[in-house]
């Protein structure tokens, strides 16, 4: 509503009214004067002529308005609102459907409460069907905690909007509102339905009803005050979008766990009071001897993984990095060297449990077919599962010191504006890596990872930090998926026993890659 009236609306209206009052007072005074001078007939004729002229002019204007191209009309009805950045591809499809509804709504819906309710319900049903097409009754496919969280969210949001946008909302007592409700018998049933937990849920899943009553009341008034139909259309669109947004949140399972709850589920071993949420998990992957363990050591700032000319790593190992300065706490999963395509299932399973992929590729090795196949397998895995969100990929190009000329090692090298042969070779290698691995050139970080000769690790950190928000989104969706997978009798039983620790248990299982039976 802030979008419609503006924060200062009430004061402007008051000022306008005060300024207009003296002139409005002239209307009855003038009528009395005309009456006394018996000139009222002339005034009436003049008025009739003016109305006639106004009518003709209005028709002209209306016809001119019709000639506006349909594209402009669509823009006038409101731009498409972009989906939330944190949504998965599946959520985005649902949002497109909501947008479809929003595009069809007209401002008249706001004045007709029945139409508003019907549209809202249709939107919710559409979203529910999108997420649970196999259910006969998709509308009811959610749990009690979800419904309560939804109610909480809507309450919080409505309050914020009310305080911001509804004039006088802080001074109006609820008693006044209730009195108004009682007078208006049409909405009395809504007020009644607000008692008892069952009613609360209904209110939660059908927030439209409450909103509709309120909106329809308010906008009848607005419309009477001469709001343009264009304005009403835009408001209608916002209303439908807001309903759709909450429906998506409900049925996508995003409300299964609150963000605050996730905070509390952090494994205690890594828990730091200041640490934000669960540490992001980074998968360090790449071919045999690409330098994965060297990268892990470089990021940890310590020797934690064995580095050798022969393939040293056998099983995936996990290392945690404490947060330092502005860096978040991380967990690095050093996957075993990938030598053949048979490693794909293992790699995909690891990637599914990680929030960001650090792909290590040798700068001086042109054989990148295996790299590409493995990366494509991971991409394909996520592409086939729209409810998942693929972790972002950062490529660390290792061993840049071995590029031509071999004998030169005089960092720093400016690859953006290469000034020497070495810098040019590094730049060319970056482009080759980006092209053959199918990533953007900006996602390739050249580095030297030899212990004692580290170079550009800061750039790796910068690249990781830049993708933290995106990685957090992946993490959130991943954790929610884990929370959702705890369904079934056994899961519920464990939930009762372990309570909030369940999720952390799953997370730990995911790290080890082994499903221990409890």
């Amino acid at each position: 509503m802030k979008r419609i009236v503006g924060r200062q609306g009430a004061w402007w209206l008051g000022a306008l009214a005060a300024a207009c009052l003296p002139f409005l007072a002239l209307v009855p005074l003038g009528a009395v004067w005309l009456w006394e001078r018996q000139g009222f007939v002339y005034w009436f004729l003049g008025t009739a002529l003016c109305f006639l002229a106004a009518g003709l002019l209005f028709r002209r204007a209306h016809r001119a308005g019709d000639r506006v191209p349909s594209g402009d009309a669509a823009t006038a009805a409101g731009e498409e609102t972009p989906p939330d950045p944190g949504w998965s591809p599946s959520d985005k499809v649902a949002w497109q459907r909501v947008q479809g509804f929003a595009a069809q709504t007209s401002g008249r819906m706001l004045i007709d409460q029945r139409a508003l309710l019907a549209t809202g319900r249709a939107v919710i049903e559409e979203v529910a069907r999108h997420y649970h097409p196999e259910r006969a009754e998709p509308l009811w496919h959610f749990t009690l905690p979800e419904a309560l969280l939804l109610a909480e969210r809507i309450s919080r949001r409505t309050r914020a909007l009310t305080v911001q946008a509804v004039p006088g909302s802080r001074s109006v007592r609820i008693g006044d509102v209730l009195r108004l409700y009682r007078v208006k018998r049409t909405v009395a049933s809504v007020a009644h339905s607000a008692d008892g937990p069952w009613r609360a849920i209904r209110l939660a899943i059908n927030p439209v009803q409450a909103a509709a009553a309120e909106l329809s009341r308010r906008f009848q008034g607005f419309a009477a005050e001469g709001l343009s139909s264009l304005m009403l259309d835009r408001i209608a669109r916002i209303v439908v979008e807001e309903i759709g947004r909450e429906a998506i949140n409900l049925y996508s399972g995003r409300l299964r766990a609150d963000i605050d709850e996730l905070d509390r589920l952090e494994p205690p071993a890594v828990a730091e009071p200041a640490a934000p949420a669960v540490p992001l998990r980074l998968l360090v992957a790449g071919k045999v001897n690409a330098g994965k363990s060297s990268l892990v050591n470089a990021l940890c700032g310590d020797v934690v993984a064995a580095v050798d000319v022969l393939a040293a790593t056998g099983q995936p190992t996990s290392h945690s990095v404490r947060c330092a300065d502005d860096r978040p706490a991380l967990e690095l999963v050093d996957c075993a060297g990938l030598e053949r395509e048979t490693a794909i299932p293992k790699l995909v399973a690891l990637a599914e449990n990680c929030d960001l992929v650090l792909w290590v590729a040798l700068a001086n090795d042109g054989a990148r077919d295996l790299d590409r196949r493995l990366l494509d397998a991971v991409r394909g895995h996520f592409a086939g599962r729209p409810q998942f969100r693929a972790p972002p990929v950062v490529v660390v190009m290792s061993h840049i010191d071995r590029l031509r000329p071999f004998n030169e090692w005089a960092p720093p090298y400016d690859v953006a504006v290469p000034s020497g042969r070495k810098a040019e070779t590094i730049r060319a290698a970056m482009e080759a890596v980006a092209q053959s691995l199918g990533v953007a050139a900006t996602d390739v970080i050249p580095a030297r990872l030899d212990a004692g000769m580290l170079y550009n690790i800061d750039a790796v950190w910068t690249a990781v930090l830049a993708r933290v928000p995106e990685a957090r989104q992946s993490q959130l969706i991943r954790l929610l998926r884990l929370a959702g997978s705890a369904g079934g009798v056994a899961g519920v039983a464990r939930q009762i026993v372990t309570g909030g620790r369940l999720l952390s248990g799953l997370v730990i299982e995911g790290i080890a890659g082994t499903r221990t039976k409890t």
Binding site: V288, N289, D308, V309, L310, A311, E339, R340, N364, D365, G366, A367, R368, D369, L370, R372, R402, R404, P405, F406, N407, E408, W409, S436, M453
Partner: protein, 419 residues
């Protein structure tokens, strides 16, 4: 006696006439050129290079042939969409490198190429980077090959040794070459362990053919790693040992003899022309072109490479300085061979074979003598007629020995070197 000498003289004069004509009035002769290239090609050993992309296959071709990038780049013939044969030199190949596209290149399936290469190869030269394990695609391909040809020798070139040299700004090869027969330690701990691990991997190959190792590091001059062809002798030795028939040894001498600018490159052409002459002479009835034409083309091509032009006078001087005795013997042999060749049955086989070897040897000798003559002509120095004659005899003897040892012109080998 008089008539025999007269006939020999006629033979010689008609032979030199053909040579003179070809050298002095070179006519565009696409069929002849193709024929020479084909015959040389049929006898040139095929070295199959097998390795990942970027493992150093092209460097090996360049260094072994002493050819620049441009020459190797143009001297190839595609045999499938992606596999290529690098022939060196192009006009009359001495050696053919069968090069698949590097394994592991993005979106490249090598199955078809590998099947094709397997049909053509004499020797497999596996190229792997010294650092790290043997790449799985290479090992898989090699294992398949050895299952089908258990006795095929394999030479493993372990490249990019400088990856192990530590210390900024001071990369240097350990000298003298410490690896000996390719299996001895260098003293660089990580390098030795990696090489040993690779040898262990290759030891598990099926089949009985010997596997030889050559740690090498071929780099362009501008990289500043001296020598630029580190380990080339070891690689040659391994290749020679791999091809028991001595053809590679011959090729090595042919390719390796250099010194004055242009001479090495010119010398590398002789072998191909000689092989073509030998092959053409083996045929019962001379084909499109005869041995004199091949030799004439060779002399013309050598002169072009050394930046000299033949004239009637220089050609006469050159033929004169080969020595009357040598020339006579050479001419007489030529005449006798032609007669033997016409004896049906036995003569065609034995005579043809002997004629092939002799033509090979004389062409080879003629080429080397011509290089000596032409290079002294070019430098303007007074040439030594005896030295030219001596070079002719020396080279001819060398070639005769190799031709006999390798039986490259014996009938049963049917155009393939070795048995």
């Amino acid at each position: 006696m008089q008539s025999i000498l007269g006939r020999a003289g006629e033979q010689i004069s008609s032979f030199w006439k053909d040579v003179y004509d070809t050298v002095l009035n070179p006519k565009p002769d696409a069929r002849g050129d193709t024929r020479i290239a084909e015959e040389a090609r049929a006898r040139a050993p095929v070295i199959w290079l097998l390795g990942m992309v970027g493992s150093g296959k092209s460097s090996i071709i360049r260094t072994l042939t002493g050819s620049s990038d441009a020459e190797v780049g143009t001297g190839y013939r595609p045999c499938t969409a992606t596999a290529r044969i690098y022939e060196f030199p192009e006009e009359a190949p001495v050696v053919r490198f069968l090069d698949t596209r590097g394994l592991g290149e993005v979106a490249y399936d090598p199955a078809e190429d590998l099947a094709l290469c397997e049909k053509q190869a004499h020797l497999v030269l596996v190229v792997v980077r010294a650092m790290g394990p043997v790449p799985a695609p290479v090992l898989d391909a090699l294992t398949r090959v050895r299952r089908r040809h258990p006795d095929w020798p394999v030479v493993v070139a372990q490249t990019t040794l400088h990856d192990f040299y530590k210390g900024p700004g001071a990369l240097a090869h350990p000298l003298p070459y410490p690896f000996g027969d390719g299996t001895r330690p260098s003293g660089i701990e990580a390098l030795d362990r990696s090489l040993a691990a690779q040898r262990e991997t290759f030891a598990k190959l099926p089949g009985s053919g010997a596997v030889r190792f050559a740690p090498i590091d071929f780099t362009p001059e501008e990289d500043g790693l001296a020598p630029a062809d580190y380990g080339i002798d070891r690689l040659w030795t391994a290749l020679e040992a791999g091809s028991a028939d001595g053809v590679v040894s011959m090729m090595r001498r042919s390719l390796g003899s250099s010194g004055k600018p242009g001479v090495g490159r010119a010398a590398s052409h002789i072998w191909g022309y000689a092989a073509a002459a030998g092959a053409i002479d083996m045929l019962p009835v001379a084909g499109v072109i005869g041995v004199p034409v091949v030799q004439g083309k060779m002399l013309h091509s050598l002169a072009g490479m050394l930046g000299v032009t033949w004239t009637r006078a220089t050609l006469a001087e050159f033929s004169g300085c080969l020595g009357a005795g040598a020339l006579l013997r050479f001419g007489a042999q030529f005449g006798v061979r032609q007669l033997v060749k016409l004896v049906p049955g036995y003569g065609t086989v034995i005579g043809g074979a002997a004629a092939g070897a002799a033509s090979f040897a004389t062409t080879y000798g003629l080429g080397h003598a011509a290089i000596l003559y032409l290079s002294s002509r070019r430098s303007g120095a007074r040439f030594d007629a005896d030295a030219v004659a001596e070079e002719f005899r020396r080279a001819m003897a060398e070639a005769t020995g190799v031709a006999r040892a390798s039986r490259m012109f014996s009938r049963d080998s049917d155009g393939k070197a070795g048995s």
